[in-house]
């Protein structure tokens, strides 16, 4: 069980081959060496090309009870964008949009001191 690929690579057993592929590709890209990449590739092959292996490994992995307990599920991870440094123009409110939404007064107000995740403008 220690080598269960769902647990080793922190994959949700309920996710399908596409999500598994996406996550393992990310891990492979970040892998420190070729050996780790080969291990990830083997796990990917086992989980996506052999559904019996995926099923067996899923049954031998802890289910995500926090996500399926009736309690509000944790938010899905934000989709990863291509690695590109944010530029000022990404944060500036475009005058055309401000005008179209009638938000001139809000746009002139000081920027609220809230975390980016809670900023209504960034939602």
């Amino acid at each position: 069980m220690a080598d269960n690929p769902f647990e080793r690579w922190d994959l949700d057993p309920m996710q399908g081959p596409q999500a598994i592929t996406e996550r393992l590709r990310e891990l492979a890209e970040d892998a420190p060496d070729e050996e780790t990449r080969a291990t990830i590739r083997a796990a990917w092959e086992a989980l996506t090309m052999h559904p019996r292996d995926r099923l067996r490994a899923a049954l031998e992995a802890h289910p995500d009870s926090h996500g399926a307990a009736g309690a509000p599920p944790p938010p899905p991870p934000a989709p990863r964008r291509a690695h590109r440094a944010l530029e000022l123009s990404d944060l500036v409110l475009r005058p055309s949009l401000v005008r179209a939404l009638g938000l001139e007064r809000e746009a002139r107000a000081p920027i609220p001191d809230v975390a980016p995740a809670d900023d209504p403008w960034l939602r």
Binding site: M14, D64, H66, A71, P120
Partner: protein
């Protein structure tokens, strides 16, 4: 603007449960065992659904871990949810891997067998995982089979270490021998219990067979070339090591008593008493264990005769009359129709009677004669053709005790 969202509550609960998991794991496995995957903390979600479980968590948060440990190690099957059983099956399995604790392995098996009896949960998980990648029938088969996988795993582990008699394999064998306990723990129904026990028995037998095969091969070779007794004794001790490794397995006991009988007969016929004694020495514990099994369970009658023969050999070479009689009595008790057993016991009884008659004195005459008469009568009932019997009767008659015709 709402600063704290429901999702943050969920995240906080998850983090708190992960901290609880760490604390619980340390309580179960100690400081050094690597933590299970954080999703194992989902067991707290399942526990929280029952009042007792929620209370146990609350008390654990206040530092009183005992109710939580109890909820995890002795879950009430009546109140057990399949998801909690799934978490516990994996958690105890991990605990057994980390600590080698057999009790944890049995708990893990118990939880798997609970899921086998419940049937629907694993099937639902299986369907959700497989989606359209597998035919429905295959998903059904795989999920029905999954709870028995750990039994097969133990069988493979036992088999892998059978020839070298490894500790790990011995532990696996012991757990396989306790599968019924796991069935009780998981309240497995009759069909699941039958299947689990049969599979564990097969797995155990295969591993023990493999361990015995090595010794048997060496014994066979040594017997064929008429190896000296010392060498055979060493091989028998090796076989006894297999017996101990296999947690005093009956299969090994049967092998021993059957395999060694011909070797003992050869030495017995040649009156090589020291050799007989040396060969019997390693066998005393396994023979005694088999004898107790036969006494407990009449269905094991088939092994009564070879086991009784071991006691006959033992009776022949025991150092004192008392010990000889004790072993001969055991042989006859195990197998009342055993010819050699009856013969040697009758002979020993007559020997005791003659010895008593030799020592009879005026002040203990009646008592001694009573005992001698009883011995001779019993010897006659056991083996009427005994050559020494007429002589014993004549000596008793000379003392005024007539046996034939009152």
């Amino acid at each position: 603007m709402k600063a704290w969202r429901e999702a943050d509550d969920a995240r906080l609960t998850r983090l708190e449960d992960e901290a609880r998991l760490a604390s619980l794991w340390r309580g179960l496995a100690g400081e050094d065992a690597p933590l299970p995957h954080p999703r194992a903390a989902g067991l707290f979600v399942c526990l929280r659904r029952s009042t007792e479980g929620a209370l146990a968590i609350e008390r654990a948060d206040r530092g009183e871990l005992a109710p939580l440990l109890r909820a995890v190690t002795q879950p009430d099957p009546a109140a057990l949810s399949p998801a909690l059983a799934h978490h516990l099956a994996l958690l105890h399995g991990r605990l057994a891997d980390a600590t080698g604790a057999e009790r944890a392995r049995i708990r893990s098996l118990g939880m798997w067998l609970f899921l086998a009896t419940e049937q629907t949960y694993l099937l639902q998980v299986g369907r959700a995982v497989a989606r359209d990648a597998l035919p429905a029938r295959e998903v059904e088969r795989a999920t029905a089979e999954a709870p028995f996988g750990p039994i097969d795993g133990l069988g493979a582990e036992a088999l892998a270490g059978a020839r070298e008699l490894t500790d790990r394999a011995a532990a696996a064998l012991r757990v396989l021998g306790r599968v019924e306990e796991a069935c009780t723990l998981g309240r497995a129904d009759e069909a699941v219990t039958r299947k689990a026990v049969a599979r564990a028995r097969r797995a155990r037998a295969a591993a023990v067979d493999a361990a015995v095969a090595r010794v048997d091969g060496s014994l066979e070779e040594a017997i064929t070339r008429d190896a000296p007794t010392d060498e055979l004794v060493a091989l028998l001790w090796d076989a006894v090591a297999v017996w101990r490794w296999a947690d005093a397995d009956e299969q090994v006991e049967r092998f021993l008593v059957q395999r060694v009988t011909s070797v003992l007969w050869d030495r017995y016929r040649d009156r090589r008493w020291d050799d007989v004694r040396a060969l019997l020495r390693p066998l005393s514990e396994p023979t005694e264990s088999l004898a107790r099994r036969i006494e407990r369970d009449p269905s094991k009658l088939a092994y009564a005769a070879p086991c009784a023969q071991m006691y006959v050999f033992s009776a022949e070479v025991a150092p004192t009359l008392e010990e000889q009689l004790r072993d001969a009595e055991r042989a006859v008790a195990l197998c009342p129709t055993h010819r050699n057993g009856s013969l040697i016991l009758a002979d020993l009884l007559v020997h005791r009677a003659m010895r008593a008659l030799d020592t009879v004195s005026p002040w203990n005459q009646a008592e001694t004669l009573d005992r001698a008469e009883a011995d001779v009568r019993r010897a006659e009932s056991l083996y009427p053709q005994l050559k020494r019997l007429p002589d014993a009767k004549l000596r008793l008659e000379a003392k005024g005790r007539k046996i034939d015709g009152g």
